[in-house]
């Protein structure tokens, strides 16, 4: 049997905040033959279960909940009559931009695209990735799964909760479970600092007197059918648990908020090179990957702190995809950023333009009184001071047009000077 093949100028994989923003921007830049593919039964992605507020302050100047933020973009998609298919799973993307997808109405089909935007988002690091010793009882959930159960299904995963990891989702769930009547006994963080936003420590933990234990991890899990207790312990500088600090906490639920991983199976199938630090594609300033015509944006590219920045980045990809479809080719000469280690990565990793560029980056540790520098060989082309930088908060710098125009073409080193 020959499968149906359709052609599209632009296909966007993922109908979450990244995919919707990219689609809207591409449409506004002139693309009319475009299609969003979404595997869930509605647009909106993870925002649908993020019922807390705090979204949209940058993008809309208002404090919105996740579903409200998603709804704003859904309205924009509908106003433009942008086509989308729900309940549709993409199984493969080839380097020459043929997409294999399937849904229960059309079966399996191919889409031949001039350009593809990858906007699949990220998934949570599961228990299996942690190697925590112990039994395998019910009651251990990722924070995002618990969030879906509580906010969308109306089910409480448990009553006595310990949370491992202090990422934002874990902090948000500490508050959510407390409001719904559960007791959160502890939030444990392996690192000496929290990976979450300072405002979330304040309003999700301090407000409810939930203790946050830094440099602490879960070293044991007990329970036959249901979780009965976890054992926590402090860790030394090498993150090794200290036996004398072990303490057992009776609980029926353990939530894991231990990191997010960009979901790049399709990116790999398209032979797109990945960055080992971000686990996302290597891209240029247009968010075009190293495969011409394939773009990536949002959490599939690198994990963002705020959806507002996802929307902004995705609009860059959408506009650039429109220009690519219109015939623009990539500037041949690519200049690569080389992070010094204190700066862990940059996005974009490469620049192929001679225009102004915003560079986003994350740092490896909490540093105070830093100077951010960018050097082209021996010549310093950027310098800025900052009181504090932290791994949980993405930083950005702007390289001006005249600076980018003056670059020699050799790799740019980007780093931090710490004076303490």
């Amino acid at each position: 049997m020959k499968l149906k093949t359709i052609s599209k100028d632009l296909v966007i994989i993922g109908g979450g905040p990244a995919g919707m923003s990219a689609a809207v921007a591409a449409y506004d830049a002139g693309v009319r033959d475009l299609l969003i593919l979404e595997r869930d039964s509605s647009l909106g992605g993870i925002l649908q279960q993020c019922i807390h507020n705090g979204f949209g302050l940058h993008r809309f100047g208002e404090e919105l909940s996740g579903p409200e933020y998603a709804h704003r973009y859904e309205v924009m998609v509908h106003e433009r009559n942008i086509d989308y298919k729900l309940n549709t799973m993409v199984m493969d993307v080839s380097p020459d931009k043929v997409i294999t997808a399937t849904n229960s109405e059309e079966g399996m089909f191919y889409i031949r695209a001039k350009a593809v935007i990858l906007a699949m988002g990220c998934r949570e690091r599961p228990r299996g990735a942690l190697n925590t010793p112990g039994t395998r009882p019910a009651g251990i959930f990722t924070a995002g799964t618990a969030q879906k159960l509580v906010n969308m299904k109306g089910c409480m995963p448990g009553r006595n909760v310990v949370i491992l990891g202090s990422g934002d989702i874990g902090l948000i769930m500490a508050r959510r479970m407390t409001l719904e009547g559960a007791k959160v006994h502890a939030v444990c963080e392996l690192m000496p600092y929290s990976g979450g936003l300072a405002r979330n420590i304040e309003q999700c933990l301090h407000d409810f007197d939930i203790p946050l234990y830094l440099s602490t991890t879960v070293v044991g899990i007990k329970g036959r059918d249901r979780l009965e207790s976890v054992t926590i312990a402090s860790v030394d500088e090498k993150r090794k648990p200290i036996a004398s600090t072990m303490r057992e906490i009776p609980c029926d639920t353990l939530l894991l908020s231990v990191g997010l991983i960009p979901e790049n199976e399709l990116t790999k199938s398209a032979s797109v090179p990945l960055d080992r630090v971000t686990s996302g594609a290597v891209v240029d300033q247009d968010r075009m990957t190293m495969v011409d015509g394939i773009f990536a944006c949002g959490n599939v590219l690198h994990v963002h702190d705020l959806v507002d920045f996802v929307s902004e980045e995705s609009a860059i990809a959408g506009r650039a995809a429109a220009a690519y479809i219109g015939g623009r080719t990539r500037g041949s000469e690519a200049i690569t950023f080389v992070p010094d280690g204190k700066v862990r990565y940059t996005v974009p990793q490469k620049i192929t333009t001679r225009d102004e560029v915003n560079v986003f980056f994350r740092v490896a540790n909490i540093y105070r009184n830093v100077r951010i520098f960018v050097r082209d060989g021996d010549r310093e082309i950027y310098s800025a001071k900052k009181l504090k930088v932290a791994p949980g908060e993405m930083e950005s710098i702007k390289l001006k047009k005249e600076v980018v125009e003056s670059l020699s073409g050799q790799p740019l080193s980007i780093g931090l000077e710490v004076s303490e």
Binding site: I51, N53, E68, N151, L179, R199
Partner: protein
């Protein structure tokens, strides 16, 4: 000269920047906020030391058993959070609701409405 009777270090929760605020209250009642980078931070510092408020977000049940997300239209007194949770947990939505529709007007006399942050339609 006025004397400082209370002081507190706070993390502003108004935006993701999370400014570190230092707030002092003088014996004449004057409140001084430092460390903020915008006017909203100053207001947060003042309210936090006089009468802290929070926006409540949660869900209410609908007639088909699905959940509808809701929030208060304005921040409510912090000590009212759990009472408002108890109140909104009594709700079963049985009529069509759109984004922004009022579910409970002036919830527990806080002056804020409980509004829908999603849509629900009767089957």
């Amino acid at each position: 000269m006025s004397k400082i009777v209370k002081e507190k270090d706070l993390t502003c929760i108004i935006c993701p920047r999370g400014c570190q605020l230092h707030v002092t209250v003088a014996d004449d009642g004057e409140i001084t906020v430092t460390g903020q980078t915008c006017a909203r931070g100053k207001k947060y510092g003042e309210t936090e030391l006089t009468h802290p408020t929070r926006t409540l977000t949660s869900t209410v049940l609908t007639a088909d058993g699905s959940m509808l997300s809701v929030r208060t239209s304005a921040p409510i007194p912090k000590e009212m959070l759990f009472a408002c949770m108890d109140r909104l947990n009594l709700v079963v939505v049985d009529h069509d609701v759109d984004f922004g529709d009022v579910i409970i007007p002036n919830i527990l006399d806080t002056g804020a409405d409980l509004i829908a942050t999603g849509a629900w339609k009767r089957a």
